[in-house]
Point group: C2
Chain length 362, copies 2
Amino acid sequence: LPRFDAERLKKIGTDIFVALGTPKRNAEIVADVLVKANLMGHESHGVAYFIRYSDRIRRGIIDPKAEPEIVQESSTTALIDGHWGFGQLTANKVMEVAIEKARTSHISAVGACHCNHTTRLGEYSMLAARRNMIGMLFANVPFHGNVQPYGAAAGLLGTNPLSVAVPTEKMDPFFFDFATSAVAERRVTLAAARGEKIPFGWIVDKNGNPTDDPTDLNPPNSTRDEDRGRLLTFGAAAEGQGHKGYCLSILVEILGGILNGSGSLVANDVRQSQNGLLAIAIDIGSFVPAETFKKTTDALFQRIRQTPVQPRFEHDHVLIPGELEWNTMGKRLKEGVEVSESTWREIVNVATELGLKVQSDI
Amino acid sequence: LPRFDAERLKKIGTDIFVALGTPKRNAEIVADVLVKANLMGHESHGVAYFIRYSDRIRRGIIDPKAEPEIVQESSTTALIDGHWGFGQLTANKVMEVAIEKARTSHISAVGACHCNHTTRLGEYSMLAARRNMIGMLFANVPFHGNVQPYGAAAGLLGTNPLSVAVPTEKMDPFFFDFATSAVAERRVTLAAARGEKIPFGWIVDKNGNPTDDPTDLNPPNSTRDEDRGRLLTFGAAAEGQGHKGYCLSILVEILGGILNGSGSLVANDVRQSQNGLLAIAIDIGSFVPAETFKKTTDALFQRIRQTPVQPRFEHDHVLIPGELEWNTMGKRLKEGVEVSESTWREIVNVATELGLKVQSDI
C-alpha cells in the first residue's frame, strides 16, 4: 500500500473541511483525530472519514459551523449540546469540561446530546490521563443497531464503545477503547472490502449461524433487512461468560443514551451518525498523591510485562493495553501511514471537486 | 439436595458470627448478604462462607468487632478504612457514603482499604439503584492471583469483579456483577467438588492447554505452584476481541488497588481474603428527571425482551441483566434454598462447636 506522511494527510483533511465551511481551528482538530486513528493502527476509524464526513456535511447531517455548548451544569456535572456539529469537537468539549470540574470537585460526569460520530474514544479519555486524571468515556450508537442481544436472533443494540485512560510515570499511558460488540462494524466492512475472512465469533449470518465471511453482515447483492447478519456482543460465543459483553453494551446504551437525555435506541428521533456521550473524570490526587499512583501503575505494568508469554502469542512479551497503539504511532510517524489507493483517489476527488489544488501523486 | 428456609439459614449464620464476637446487627448484615447469594442463584458466594469466615475469624484474618471508618473525605470523595472487619460491612459503608455524597454533589467516588472479602458486589451497587442512582463498584483481588494476562503463560491477576446497578420504573432493576476472569474461581472449585466438567474457555491447565476438567486449576494431589492451572480473563479465547476482558481486569486492579491506596498485586502486604474497593454513585436527577430516566429504561428493556430468541437459547425470551437473579430469588423465597448435605453438616458442626443449639434436621 502507498504510504503518506501524517502531516500531509492532516493538511488535506483540514483543507477539505475548511472548504466545506468549517472554521480552520475546528477542521484541524477533526483531521488530527482521524489521522491519529491511522497512526495508531485503527484505519477503520481513520482518513476514510474525510470522504464520509464531506458527504454528511453535504447531506446536512454534520453542521460544519456548529460549536458545542454547555446547556446545563453544576459544580460536578454538565450537559453539552453538540448542535450536530462534528462529533470530535463535542467529545473534546465533554472531556475538557469534565477535567475542569474534576480539578476543583475531584470527580465529575459530563454528558452530551446532538453529537455526531466521534470515532476513536481513546483520543478523548487520554485528555484526562494527560492531566493526572482517570478518564472514562461511554458512547451509545442508537441508530439501527445490528448488534444481537445475548440469546437473541435479531440485531438491536449499537456497537456502544467505551474507553478508559490512566496516567503512568515513565511507561506509556494505559488506555483501552473498544466496542462492546465483538468488534467495531468498520472492521467487518473493511475485511469485506479487502476480500478477507474474519474470525468466527464476530458475526452471525442472516439465519443466526456462525460465519467467517464478512459479506454476510451486509450482503452486497441485497438491501433487505432480513438478508443482513448481525454482530455479536463481545465474548458472546463463550459458554457461561457470554452475557458479559452484553451487560456492558446495555450499560453504555443507558449512560450514553438515557442518562444524558441524548436518545437511546427506543427514541424516535435518533439519527444516523449519532453518538450519545458520558464522560467521567476522576482526579487522582484527591485520593492518593499522583506520583505514588503513577509509580505503582508503572510497577504493575512492569510486573505484567515480566509474565512469561504463551508459545504461540504473536508478540514477544505480554502487552499493556494501549502499548500496541503507542508503538504503531511511533513507527508510522517515522515511516508514514499506509492508505489504500482507492481511498486516496476518493480523497483526492473530494478535494478536487471542492476546488482545492492537491498534490495527488502517491 | 435438601432445602432450607432462607430465614432459618440467616439465623444460624447470625448466631455463629455473634458467638464469635460479632455485634448482633453486623452479624445479621453479613448473614443476610451470604444467604441472598444463595437466594439469587450464586451458591458459590453463599452460606458456605459461614464456615470459611468462622475459620478466618479464628485465624485473625477477619476482626469480628471492627467497624469501617471514614479516614479522608471531601464533598465528593472519601476513603474508608475497613480495619479488617467483615468485607460486607465495609462494602455497605463505601456505597452508603457514596450515595450520601452523590445526593448533595451529584456524583461521588469512595474507596476502601483494609477490606476483607465482600462476596456479591451486586448487593452493594443495588443500594444506589434503590435511591434513584446509578451505582458502580470495582473490587480488586490482589492476593496470589491466578488469572492469566492476555497472551501470558502464567497466573498473575485476581478475578477482579465489577458491578453496576441501574433503577427502573416497573421492571426489576438492572444489575450485573461479574468477575473479569472468565468466571469466579469458586465456580470452578464448586464444579470440581461436584465432579462436573466445565466449558472450555474458563481455565487452562498447568501447561497452558485448554481443558474442561476443573481439577486442573488446583490439582488435589499437589500443592506445588507449577502444577496449578490458570483462569482466563473473560472472552480471552475469542480471536480479535480476546483482550477486552483483560483490559477490564487491569482497570479494576487500578481502581480497586492503586487509586485508593489499598494495595495492588505488586504491594508486599496484601492479604488472603483482601478486596480493595472503589464505588461510584451518580444521581440520575442531576441529569434528567429520574421518572423520565426510569420510564425510558423500562422501554429499552421491553424492546430488548421483544427481540426474537435464538432457537437453542435456554430461556423463552431474551433476558435483562439481573432478571435471572430476581426470578430465582422470588422462587427460592417460596420454595427454599438448596444446600448440599456436606455444607449443611459443616455449618451445623461449626455452630455446635460454638455451643449453639441447632436444629440439625434436614
